[in-house]
């Protein structure tokens, strides 16, 4: 691992932002009968607040000496956490690949064979791992720029189709907001990935992860509002709401902007998978003997990703999301416990 890394916490936040924002554009194929914008926005704000609160203890540990021992993988606790991280990140990457492939097949008139798409993904990921974290986050920055440009273009192209009368109103129903928030609650593996990669990033006093989550919430609110303002109640029934928006929007004679959007979104998905794969590699490295480190870890990381891809390929998206949320929750809780125990150990040592 490069000890003199030029990766900053802000770049890692861009990684988290892009990885989670692209999930909002390329939705899992489980929708149909989801909540209207009024409820969904309130539920999103609630979920953001809950996730931020849950993250506070972990973010508090990030600057502590005890936490930095995690990357050593010496103790049993750190080994267990690193193993869980590797599996979780690989599962997250596999889930992203499954979703991307399904989306790509859905939008293509002549879809590519599934195995070819997966093979291409794994190949690109392998190449990205060979290039290292700095290269991944630099490409990710470009991909984030393209993604945001695509979203801005989509917004502009749909401005004419937005009608306030498409927004649905219903009396405020807090239990319904709670139910929607509970249904949509997600703890993505990108959050512990940020914590793990922070160990390799430049030391900065400020950790803008909570701001990133707030930005993501604003982004979600914007997308939800636009979707309903354009599509009305049909927004809730779409399998791929944002893709439908991209097919509707046009600027002057340019009526097929969706083709441009798809390219930007697929690139973002690719970057997300590469980042998660780097997480797998980072988690695996301390667990391997010195002779097996270096170039071989890329192969092991891609291998683990491929194994989990084979496992996840047939799983329903909702199950995958639930498993990833549970895994992330366990990992975050384990990290906090590990940090507290190690902090106590260091305190005793100092005494």
């Amino acid at each position: 691992m490069n000890e003199h890394t030029t990766v900053s916490a802000k770049q890692l936040c861009t990684l988290v932002f892009l990885s989670l924002a692209v999930d909002m554009a390329v939705r899992p194929f489980t929708s149909g009968g989801s909540a209207g914008a009024q409820i969904a926005i309130l539920a999103a704000v609630l979920n953001t607040a809950v996730v931020s609160i849950l993250l506070l203890p972990v973010l508090g540990l990030l600057r502590r000496e005890a936490f930095t021992t995690l990357k050593g993988g010496v103790t049993f606790g750190s080994k267990a956490l690193l193993t869980l991280s590797a599996v979780l990140f690989a599962a997250g990457g596999a889930a992203a690949m499954v979703r991307s492939e399904a989306f790509f097949r859905y939008v293509s008139d002549e879809p590519m064979p599934q195995l070819l798409v997966y093979g291409l993904f794994l190949l690109v990921v392998f190449y990205a791992l060979r290039c290292g974290l700095e290269s991944i986050v630099r490409v990710l920055g470009l991909a984030a720029g393209l993604f945001l440009l695509s979203m801005a273009l989509m917004l502009v192209s749909n401005l004419g189709g937005m009608h306030l009368s498409n927004l649905t109103f219903q009396p405020f129903d807090f239990p319904e907001v709670l139910r929607t928030a509970a249904r949509g609650f997600t703890l993505p593996p990108e959050l512990p990935l940020f914590c793990l990669l922070s160990l390799h990033a430049n030391r900065e006093k400020r950790r803008p992860l909570l701001k990133t989550l707030a930005l993501l919430c604003v982004f979600y609110i914007g997308l939800t509002f636009c979707s309903e303002a354009v599509l009305g109640m049909k927004a809730q029934l779409q399998q791929q709401t944002i893709h439908t928006l991209s097919r509707l929007g046009s600027i002057s004679v340019f009526r097929r902007l969706d083709a441009l959007h798809i390219a930007a979104w697929m690139l973002a998905e690719l970057c997300k998978v590469a980042a998660l794969a780097y997480g797998v590699q980072s988690a695996l490295t301390p667990l391997l003997s010195h002779s097996q480190r270096g170039g071989k870890t890329c192969g092991y990381a891609v291998g683990l990703l491929a194994v989990l891809l084979a496992v996840c390929a047939g799983a329903p998206p909702e199950t995958l999301r639930a498993v990833l949320t549970a895994g992330t929750a366990v990992l975050l809780a384990g990290t906090v416990v590990y940090g507290c125990v190690m902090e106590g150990f260091y305190a005793k040592k100092r005494v």
């Binding site: 060979r130 399998q239 439908t244």
Partner: protein, 357 residues
């Protein structure tokens, strides 16, 4: 050395995988669908496809090639479309299609036809749906002029130079009524004698998928205005036995909700300027202007009331009045919707307050 080898392998594989040669299909093997026609006759669904074919191995520039019309029939929409697709040796490409025509047989209950295309990936969401008096046979006889018809039809989609949008995309159509479509569809007017597209001159109102009223001229323009699809009116009509024509400028609809007698009430007010007012072909002079303005305002109010009777009072809330009422008092409107008494003509009042330029 090993690093370079990895790079070369990766780049080579990337190039191999990205080219997509294996399943590629040239444009010459495609039939670019520009219009879909559906009708129902004698229990059979009639389907028609207007396609543009291009020379093999040609590029996108030659898509505007020769137009062909294929027709077939089947027991269901799927079967009819499948059969019509089989009549050509090219694979149909629907992504450029923007026009759906429904014949008079299909117009008896448009819901199944619209539902088929409203399915998320069945067509582009901005597919414009029209009714047409043409039968499948009459359509197939128009092959020599159909490319002009398609072009004219595509030009019609969206807000035109007259600041009126007479078309409706498939995603805008409300199919959630008890029997399906609650709303309207424009009529694709066609001169059978001259084989010429005559634009949209009529609108048909639908309730539960069945037609119940036809609007044309001033009523159609007023309908578009109340629907937010027009920003000005150009009217030639009869008022009290006089031939009156006028244009409007800077039109604005103001909706004000309030509570009247314990129930939500909506005031809709049309403001703007009247221009080029003529009576029996002669411009109105100063003395007559005020009187004529009053008469035109009264006429527009009557038209709006007639439209409210034909739509809102029948539960066809195409003007989104319930939305404005909900904005004012969501709980009260929800309660009225549940009891089914929101859609009362007394709930909405319309007034026209146009002034001379």
């Amino acid at each position: 050395m090993q690093k370079n080898a990895y790079k070369i392998i990766a780049v080579t594989l990337l190039l191999m995988l990205l080219c997509g040669c294996k399943q590629s299909r040239s444009l010459g093997e495609r039939a670019v669908v520009k219009m879909v026609y559906l009708d129902e006759s004698g229990g059979q669904v009639q389907a028609g496809l207007v396609v543009f074919t291009c020379a093999p191995n040609s590029d996108t520039a030659s898509v505007e090639g020769q137009a062909k019309i294929y027709t077939a029939q089947g027991k269901s929409i799927e079967e009819a479309l499948y059969k019509v697709e089989q009549q050509q040796n090219k694979k149909p490409f629907y992504a450029q299609n923007e026009i759906l025509l429904l014949g008079s047989g299909a117009a008896r209950n448009v819901t199944p036809y619209l539902s088929y295309f409203a399915d998320e990936n069945a067509a582009r969401p901005n597919l414009a749906a029209f009714l047409t008096p043409l039968t499948a046979e009459e359509l197939s006889e128009c092959e020599d002029v159909i490319s002009d018809v398609v072009r004219e039809g595509e030009r019609l989609i969206g807000m035109g130079a007259d600041e009126q949008d007479r078309t409706q995309s498939i995603f805008e159509i409300n199919l959630s009524g008890t029997g399906g479509l609650d709303g309207y569809l424009p009529v694709f007017s066609f001169s059978k004698e001259e084989k010429e597209f005559r634009g949209v001159r009529q609108m048909v109102l639908f309730r539960s998928g069945a037609p119940y009223a036809v609007l044309e001229d001033a009523a159609m323009q007023m309908f578009l205005l109340l629907n937010g699809k027009a920003r000005q009116l150009t009217v030639n009509t009869q008022i009290d036995g006089k031939a009156v024509s006028f244009r409007t400028q800077q039109l604005q609809l103001t909706r004000t909700a309030s509570t009247a007698g314990g129930a939500p009430h909506l005031e809709v007010c049309l403001t703007g300027k009247l221009d080029d007012v003529t009576v029996d072909g002669a411009p109105v002079v100063d003395k007559e202007e005020a009187e004529m303005t009053r008469e035109i305002n009264a006429y527009l109010s009557r038209e709006a009331e007639m439209l409210n009777q034909a739509t809102f009072a029948r539960g066809n809330d195409t003007f989104h009045y319930a939305w404005w009422l909900k904005l004012y008092d969501t709980a009260a409107c929800e309660a009225l919707l549940r009891t089914g008494i929101l859609y009362d003509i007394a709930t909405v009042d319309f007034s026209s307050e146009l002034k001379p330029v």
